[in-house]
């Protein structure tokens, strides 16, 4: 029988604990986005802002695609394919940056209102802003993982940071899956 010290310091044990911690963090973060969603519907039940629908579709497509490449990267490294992993995570990262350019760089300045104009603008900018903040931190996380991957730190057996980056990235994606219809699709444009 392994002693507690040995049992509690193996790579697998630590990763399992880290994974639990990560999921707890995600559950906590979900409450923020949940609160924002609730606020949006509390204030404007049947209405939505009048936004650029093409832009909305494009950035959504970009983000969903990035999740696909993230999934590829995670799968690649779990089979030991470092080359594939490196390529795919770079693509994910680039797509993430494109998403940010689309939302913060294009949508925000061309929105039909300024941030402080009324309650609807406030909700729009805060929701997209909080989400963008998470995409940005995800991009930074991806860059760190990409660089460490290139240094050869990850292998088939030891690549928890990649898994963590993937879980986080997919979470950020899922949030957008809720935010996009809430902001762009549901209700009468006002």
């Amino acid at each position: 029988m392994t002693t507690q010290v040995e049992a509690h310091s193996g790579y697998k044990y630590k990763s399992d604990s880290n994974r639990l911690g990560l999921w707890l963090f995600i559950i906590s973060d979900a409450f923020v986005f949940g609160g924002l969603l609730v606020s949006r519907f509390y204030l404007f039940a049947g209405e939505r802002p009048e936004l650029n629908q093409w832009l909305g579709v494009i950035v959504t497509f970009v983000l969903l695609t990035s999740s696909f490449f993230m999934y590829r990267a995670d799968t690649d490294i779990s089979y030991g394919n470092v080359k594939g992993f490196t390529r795919n995570i770079l693509v994910t990262l680039i797509l993430g940056i494109l998403f940010l350019i689309g939302v913060v760089g294009l949508e925000w300045p061309t929105a039909p209102f300024s941030a402080g104009e009324n309650a609807m603008s406030s909700i729009f900018f805060t929701m997209t802003g909080m989400h963008a903040l998470h995409v940005l931190s995800g991009v930074i996380f991806l860059y760190i993982v990409y660089r460490n991957g290139k240094k050869g730190l990850y292998s088939k057996e030891r690549h928890f940071p990649v898994e963590a980056a993937a879980i986080y990235w997919h979470f950020v994606d899922v949030v957008w899956v809720f935010f996009y219809p809430a902001l762009y699709l549901m209700g009468n444009p006002v």
Binding site: F31, G35, A115, S122, N148
Partner: protein, 627 residues
């Protein structure tokens, strides 16, 4: 060690520089985007944020994380052992016991500050008429009294959980020691921000900070208030994450969930709330901050905003928060009663699950703080039902405690006195709950001193008395010395008697028409005498607390050296040499029995042995703490 190398001072120094850099950057950005260079509030907000981040850099608590980002592995957290004696506690440590003590001392410090505020405004309130405070000054003092006390309670909860849980479950530290240290240190810039509000115009909208009042007042203090609470909330969330992982993953072999010490159960329930609900106060305060700084309109009814949205978001956290405040203390009561009654905890499983039930039901009652707010009338009724439902698991606890001491063999050292006092005070607080739960009566007592009495009683009974009990109980474990039993008892009676007078008279004046948050009261109400008594009683309570603080600080240095396991507890932390420093358990232990089988001869809880096997007084000298 040179003082400027100590984390606290290094961090503060960095914070100053960081604030300055933040201010400069904001001015530059404002100029770049065509805004006038100076607008005090947004500039200071960014400055404060930069300052907080810089503080964390200055403490070096994040160093390992940056190493990992660069690909350097650091399996063991770096422990800087150069700081000795009391300096150890203002320096970063990754040891959960040191962090627990840091939390505890910081908690006591800021609770004393908040208590001082109370003594100031209670002096003002002792008689009708405005004697020496301005109305704005009064409003700021009561608001800060509220929020600083809440922060202090959260720190105290973290102190108990951090120090005790790994020891109780047989772990050598928490699951994430560096995150643990981070979660402690982030409170320092938060406290600086909260206290800075005094110099920045004050915060006179109550600790609840309702807009539009908290948005309309052009006082920068408000933004510091919102930011400070945000950071304290972050600490709460991260601490919750850490403790839940620790409890799930790091229990000793043989410790199934229903063989954990009961305090671990209450911590688990508490941290589930802490992890999730806290985000909502962050969100609500963030929205007010954005309204103030970006000119947004979440709560501006003329632009589509809704002030009730704030109240819903705010109370969705702030109600479960009160269970964060009291569940650990109730766990302490359940933990200590068996030891001082020499009898098993009555209905252990029911008590354990009652904590989880309280946590769960507590998520569904928030609107009882909003019965007069203008919320949908018909929705008030379901919230009455859910609110009253919380009484059922709470009642289970009270009955179980009674069942534990019934037919026991009670001894009455100071920790037990505080536990019994806690039960009676929490009972008083809890029983003043139902009038608030039923809407019709709440219409009368909402925003009066009845509520003030209700929540002070629940806080004192559910947090403060148990915290003092815990501090006295584990004192010999932490310091290797005994506190003064005589002064312990003196402090107890001062606090108990003072507090009963304070509570009962507060509740009476509230029923008679005394509102809360008022700098002066109408003599026509006929409550002058009661208010005088409340003020005097408050001072008596403060005196009792002073006795407690003095007792533990003085005894830590000069108390009699304590025998091993003076309480003859079955809990494993008493079976390692005291004072407990460094590695908790050299060898991992196994759980071989139930935790509370007092009275079952020959039964042991762990493989460390039973009460009869308590190791003799340890010859391990205290580390440099004893200077």
């Amino acid at each position: 060690m040179r003082f400027y190398k100590l984390s606290l001072f290094r961090g503060l120094g960095f914070m100053l520089v960081g604030t300055f850099i933040g201010v400069v950057i904001t001015i530059l950005i404002r100029l770049l985007i065509g805004l006038p260079a100076w607008n005090a509030e947004p500039i200071l907000v960014v400055g404060a944020l930069f300052g907080a981040i810089a503080f964390m850099f200055g403490t070096r608590v994040m160093d390992d994380w940056f190493k990992w980002a660069r690909g350097i592995d650091t399996p063991e957290p770096a422990e800087d052992s150069e700081a000795e004696g009391w300096k150890r506690f203002i320096h970063v440590s990754f040891d959960h016991k040191v962090i627990g003590i840091q939390y505890g001392l910081t908690s006591i410090l800021i609770l004393s500050v908040a208590g001082l505020f109370a003594m100031i405004f209670r002096t003002e309130l002792a008689q009708p008429g405005l004697q020496f405070l301005t109305p704005d000054g009064f409003n700021t003092l009561i608001s800060l009294h509220g929020i600083v006390n809440i922060g202090g309670i959260l720190l105290g909860v973290a102190a108990m959980a951090n120090y005790l849980v790994p020891l109780m479950i047989g772990a050598n530290d928490m699951a994430f020691p560096r995150l643990n240290a981070f979660a402690y240190w982030i409170n320092i810039p938060a406290i600086v921000m909260l206290l800075s509000t005094i110099l920045l115009g004050g915060v006179d909208a109550g600790w609840t900070g309702y807009p539009p009042l908290s948005e309309n007042l052009a006082k920068i203090g408000f933004s510091m208030f919102f930011l400070g609470v945000y950071l304290i909330g972050l600490s709460s969330i991260l601490g919750g994450l850490n403790l839940i992982t620790t409890i799930i993953r790091m229990r000793a072999p043989g410790m199934s969930y229903f063989r954990m010490p009961i305090f671990v159960w209450s911590t688990l329930a508490t941290m589930i709330i802490s992890l999730t609900a806290t985000q909502l106060i962050g969100l609500s305060f963030q929205m007010v901050l954005f309204d103030r700084v970006f000119g947004m309109d979440f709560f501006n009814p003329n632009q589509g905003g809704n002030v009730l949205l704030f109240q819903n978001l705010f109370w969705f956290y702030s109600h479960p928060a009160v269970y964060v405040f009291v569940l650990p203390g109730l766990g302490i009561i359940s933990e200590l009663l068996p030891v001082f009654s020499r009898k098993p905890l009555f209905g252990y499983r029911w008590v354990a699950l009652s904590s989880m039930a309280i946590a769960l039901v507590g998520f569904f009652v928030w609107a009882h703080h909003m019965f007069t707010s203008g919320m949908a009338d018909f929705l008030r009724v379901p919230f009455t039902y859910s609110t009253l439902l919380v009484a059922v698991p709470t009642g289970i606890k009270f009955f179980s405690w009674t069942g534990t001491i019934w037919r026991g063999k009670l001894s009455f050292q100071t920790p037990m006195l505080y536990v019994l006092g806690a039960i009676s005070i929490f009972l008083l607080g809890g029983l003043s709950g139902p009038p608030n739960a039923t809407v019709a009566t709440d219409l009368h007592i909402h925003d009066t001193y009845f509520i003030v009495g209700h929540f002070h009683a629940t806080m004192f009974g559910g947090y403060l008395f148990p915290f003092v009990a815990a501090a006295y109980f584990w004192f010999p474990l932490i310091t290797g010395r005994m506190y003064s039993e005589r002064w312990g008892k003196i402090g107890f009676w001062l606090m108990l008697i003072g507090f009963y007078f304070q509570s009962l008279f507060q509740m009476q004046t509230g029923l008679l028409g005394m509102r809360r948050r008022i700098a002066d009261y109408d003599p026509a109400l006929g409550v002058d005498f009661q208010q005088l008594v409340v003020s005097i009683a408050g001072f008596v309570v403060g005196l009792g607390l002073l006795v407690f603080i003095t007792n533990i600080l003085v005894s830590a240095k000069r108390g009699q050296v304590a025998e091993q396991n003076p309480w003859r507890s079955r809990s494993p932390e008493w079976y390692i040499p005291t004072p407990v420093w460094g590695h908790n358990y050299e060898k991992p232990f196994e759980v071989v029995g139930e935790p509370y089988d007092y009275g079952l001869e020959g039964s042991d809880y762990t493989s460390l042995g039973g009460v009869a096997d308590t190791p003799a007084d340890s010859a391990v000298p205290e580390p440099a703490a004893a200077d």
